[in-house]
Every structure is written in structure tokens, then in C-alpha cells.
Amino acid sequence: MSERLLTIRDAINEALVQAMEADPTVFLMGEDVAGGAGRDDRGGLDAWGGPFGVTRGLATRFGRERVLDTTIAEAGFFGAAVGAAMTGMRPVVELMYVDFAGVAYDQMLNQAAKVRYMFGGTQKVPMVMRTVVGGGFRAAAEHSQTLYSIFAHIPGLKTVAPTTAADAKGLLLTAIADDDPVVFFEHKRMYMQKSHVPEAPEPIPFGVAAVRREGTDLTIVGVQRGVQFALEAAEALAGEDISVEVIDPRTYTPLDKGTILASVAKTGRLMIVDESYPRASLATDLAAIVADEGFESLKGPIRRVTAPHTPVPFSPPLEDAYLPLPGRIVAEVKRLLGA
């Protein structure tokens, strides 16, 4: 069987198509998720498909009753998604950039996340919040953040950050079928990356990390694009006889601690690579877990290679210094190993 290569963008689109075909309660909401307000006289039903074209074709296929263009009223339509999810629908709602989370955060933090608990388990909120994260587009402080941590911090939410097209599809299928609210992060710099994606809908379970590369000297856990940076660094380090294991947790709540701890048990060393802000973050979370539960395996300090404690800068030389690019990882690994 020949490999079917898809971009992450198209893999997400395919997952949406298959989920909507399989379940009439699945529907999409967001700003210009169709575009042209879904009107034929406005460039067809899919003038946009979102700013990255991820949802292109869906309005044509499913009609604008199931692909709802909204106004710029995120708190309103995220709240509406909560109410729809509570009453029998499975909304997949798009926050165009995660940077805009602040205007709708109450509905995520206090409503989506807490409805089940504060009403004693009598209700559920099966909704997916798709959003776009990441630097590298020279998009400056308000269009480049990752903000994983403000969601991973909140009990009641699940968080998913795929790094391959197959994972993007499989994890999104799981997210849509899941009965809990899921925040699904898509990295804008990774949309066009291709890999093999099975055509059939094959959900990938949450809470199962992937070992992306095996190694013996050091474990690197990457967060989304951090996985790719780590793989590139590992490749470079292999040339210097340093053997790096790279782990992709894929989902952060729930988190597959076992795979990470087992890897650290083998290598004795841990580095975490994440382009997010460094404080009170997913990177500190992973470090703290291993500093407790994996302490006995550790041969040296746990190093985090992250963005610095600054907003994301615009100018290319600044943003390049900002991101945890492979070169920085290589240097840190060597420092850590005294190599």
C-alpha cells in the first residue's frame, strides 16, 4: 500500500469531515470558518475556511447550518458552545489564535471546565476548542503565543497538541468523540508539514506519549514544535556520538507520565523543550513531575530550553533568538553532558 501523505492542515480537515459525517450532532463555529458568511454570492460557501484554510470545503459539504460563521464575539460563542454541548450537541469551536483566549477565557476556565464538577457529575460538556498557536511567523506579541499552560493548569479541561498529520487526525477524532471539553492546539508553523495519514478514521487515545526517537544519553521531552526542534537537535548530536531520546507527550491533560519516567530511568537525564513562556508552564510541570517521581533515576539537573520571560518579539533576529531552535538545544545538551 502506498503512503498517503497529508499536511497537518488537511489531516485536520479530514478528521472534521469524518466526524461530521459519522455524527450529526457535530458542528463547527467560529469567525469565518466558512467565510463570506457562508453565502454563495460572496465567493462561494468557502471563501476562507478560516485564516489558514483548515476548514475549507466544509460549508459546501455540510451546509452553513453546521458550519456557523460567527461575529467577533468569542465569549458569546464559546459560551454558546458550552450550552450546546450540555444539551446534546458536539460543538467544535474555533478560537482563531490562542492569543485571543483572554476575551473568552471565563467561559473556558469557569464554565466549560467546571460545569461537570460543580453540578456534581450530572452533566457533561463534550466540546472541542480548536486554536492556533506558535511563533515563527514574525507576528509579534499578540499573534505568536502558545499559552498551553493557562489551559493545562485548569482541572476539567483536556489539552492536546499534535505534532504529526496522523496524530492531528487521530487525536482530533478522539477529541470530538470525547465527553469532556478538549483544547486542541494547532501550530501555525506546522500546518503544511506532511506525513502518512490513514484514510480510515482511526482515533488515537489520549494519555499515550510517543517515543519519537530512541536514545540512551539523555531524554528530551518536547512540547509540540519543541518535539521537532528536539528531533533536529538529536540528529545533529548523533553526529557527535550523543544519543538522545525524544518523547512527544501528545496530550498534556491527561499526561502519560509512565513513558517519560521510563525514559528518564533509562537515560538518567532530562531536558524539556517548549517555545512557551518559562514560568509556571508545561515545561516546569514536566520537570516537577520528574523531580519528584523520577528523582532516583536522575544523574543531573533537569534543564528547560524555552522562550525567555519576555513577550514574543517581532523582528526576525529577535524572534530567532527567542525560540528554542535546535542550535540552542544542541548547545544546552552539550553543556548538560559536560561534552
Partner: protein, 329 residues
């Protein structure tokens, strides 16, 4: 509302029952709070009973409501069991939320009570979403969001109103204008003549009625519900009442002038109903029996609830997720 249907005697008795139950329930809450016999914050509803009773009388059991921290009246109006409410206020495992929510977070899916949300106006888009959901499922249920006069300033009020118009959603936004948002009086905070006026910004109908008169509330709601069921979309309803209760139990209400309170008290909804009863052909003795029954039912609910078991500490971990791979601990 000249051509709105007049409620039948049975309906009137039921609304009265509902109102006196609310009044009594919250009177007990106040007593318990003062005696430190229930934990946490409690927000009572005295003075606005006609609103919850009138609105809910115009709804089906399968219609939805979303409420606030000040939810006891709404819950009772929609038919949540007193016993389970009392147990929830007491933090017992038998409560509507197994003790996890308390007074501010009563819910009961079975009777269409979506839940009570503690963030001002947060329930508005949630009710909107329930309405959208009903529409998408081809059902003719409607959804109602209750909120206060203070909530009209919150951004999500605006967003929910606008999206309701955009989607032509079968939702009723019910503003309980009880003259106060915490210690802030309406004439300080409201910019328009009435809350109902604000509907114009969204090209939605805005209707104002006397929130002390359960029949007026019922009729105004009925009309909006009929419009929503028929595909006519959303309505902003403003019912005017007075917050005789404190913002929360313990609030001294120094900001409410005594003469103002007295003037409004003369119109409080139970007295108003009782005064109009004869004219409406209702039987005074039956009203008295209803009062006695409600008192007894409330007393029994609280008495029983106070004997109920506490949750076990480990129940803390239940009900966060439907499922969580690897477990929470």
C-alpha cells in the same frame, strides 16, 4: 398585554405555591445562615418570587433555564426537588451536586435546570447555546437565561444578545431588575431609560413588565415563548422588582434608604397576589392551605437534609471528567 391568555385558577394556585415556597425556602436559608448552620455564601431572592414563578409557569419541563448565584427561586420555579436543594446547601452527598456546588450552583437536568453560574452574565451565552442546540435538533424547546440589572454591563450580555439575533435563536433573556447590583443602585448604573430599551441595539424585541405581578410576568413570558417556539427568535424581558434581600446573607444594606424599601415592600409580590386574589376569584382558605403546605414541605426538606450523610473526602476526585486516562491521582 390585553390579548395574552389569563391563567386558570389552577395555574394561579400553582404560581402562588411556587412563590410561597421560594419565600419560605429563603427565609429558612437566612435563619440557617444567621445561625451558622449552613456553610458558604447564600444569596436569597426575597421580592422577586413573581419573576421566577411567572416565567417558569410559561415554560415546559423540557425547556431550559440558566441561572445565577441567586438561583433558589429559579430552581424552585422550574421544579427542582426541595429536598435535594436543601441537601446541596448543607453540603451533603444527597444534594443536587452531591455537595460539590452548594447554594450558588444548583442544577437539575431532569427538570430543565441547566445550572447556576456564579460569574455575572455567564449563563446568558450558555442558555443561548442550549437554544441553538434545540433549534439544530429540530426541537421547539426554548431556553431562558436569568440575570440581574447589574449584568447588563458585562460584555457577554452584548455578545449573547447579538448572537441570539444572528442565529434567530429561541432564547429569552430575562433581566430581573431588582434596583441594585450589590450596593450600586440602578439610577447610578443604568444609562438607558429601561433595560428593555437595550434590546434595540440588537434589533430584538425588548419588553418590560411589573415583576411584582406574577400574572404580568407570566403573560409577557408566554408571548415571548410563543414567538421563540414559532421561529421568531429571541426576546429581552425586563421584570421590575426590588431586592429586599442583601447582596448575600450578612449584607447590612445600608445603601437602601428605609423609605424606599418601605414603598417597594408595599408592593411585594405575595401581598400583591393575596390582595388581588378575591378579585381573581381565588379562595382565601386555599391560599392559606398552600402557605401551610409550603412551609411544611420546606421545613421537612431542610430537616431531612440536615440528617443526610456528608460526602466522603475521596469523592473530591469524582466528577471532574467523564473519563481520564491514567486516573486523576
Amino acid at each position: 398585554m390585553p390579548d395574552a391568555p389569563t391563567p386558570t385558577h389552577d395555574q394561579l394556585y400553582a404560581m402562588y405555591r411556587s412563590m410561597v415556597t421560594m419565600r419560605r425556602f429563603d427565609a429558612v436559608v437566612t435563619e440557617l445562615a444567621e445561625a451558622d448552620r449552613i456553610p458558604g455564601y447564600a444569596h436569597t431572592y426575597t421580592g422577586s418570587e413573581a419573576i421566577a414563578a411567572g416565567v417558569c409557569a410559561a415554560l415546559r419541563p423540557s425547556d431550559w433555564i440558566a441561572s445565577t448565584y441567586r438561583n433558589h427561586g429559579h430552581a424552585i420555579g422550574k421544579g427542582v426537588a426541595l429536598r435535594a436543594m436543601a441537601a446541596e446547601l448543607h453540603g451533603r452527598r444527597t444534594g443536587t451536586a452531591k455537595g460539590k456546588g452548594g447554594s450558588m450552583h444548583i442544577s437539575d437536568f431532569g427538570v430543565g435546570m441547566l445550572g447556576a453560574f456564579g460569574i455575572v452574565a455567564a449563563g446568558m451565552p450558555i442558555a443561548l447555546g442550549a437554544a441553538l442546540s434545540m433549534k439544530m435538533q429540530g426541537r421547539d424547546e426554548v431556553a431562558v437565561a436569568f440575570f440581574g440589572d447589574g449584568a447588563v454591563h458585562q460584555g457577554v450580555f452584548h455578545e449573547a444578545m447579538g448572537l441570539a439575533k444572528l442565529w434567530n435563536a429561541p432564547v429569552l433573556f430575562v433581566c430581573e431588575n431588582n434596583q441594585y447590583a450589590e450596593a450600586t443602585a440602578l439610577d447610578y448604573h443604568l444609562h438607558t431609560e429601561t433595560v428593555a430599551n437595550m434590546a434595540a441595539g440588537y434589533a430584538l424585541p425588548g419588553v418590560r413588565a411589573d415583576g411584582m405581578d406574577v400574572v404580568a410576568v407570566y403573560q409577557a413570558t408566554l408571548e415571548a415563548v410563543a414567538r421563540a417556539r414559532a421561529g421568531g427568535g429571541a426576546t429581552l424581558l425586563e421584570f421590575v422588582s426590588y431586592r429586599f434581600s442583601g447582596q448575600y446573607e450578612g449584607d447590612k444594606q445600608t445603601y437602601q434608604p428605609a423609605d424606599e424599601r418601605a414603598a417597594w415592600w408595599a408592593r411585594e409580590p405575595l401581598t400583591a397576589f393575596e390582595q388581588a386574589a378575591a378579585e381573581r376569584g381565588l379562595d382565601a382558605a386555599r391560599l392559606e392551605r398552600i402557605r401551610a403546605d409550603a412551609d411544611a414541605e420546606v421545613a421537612a426538606a431542610f430537616a431531612a437534609a440536615e440528617q443526610d450523610p456528608w460526602p466522603e473526602p475521596d469523592e473530591l476526585y469524582d466528577d471532574v471528567y467523564v473519563s481520564y486516562e491514567g486516573g486523576l491521582r
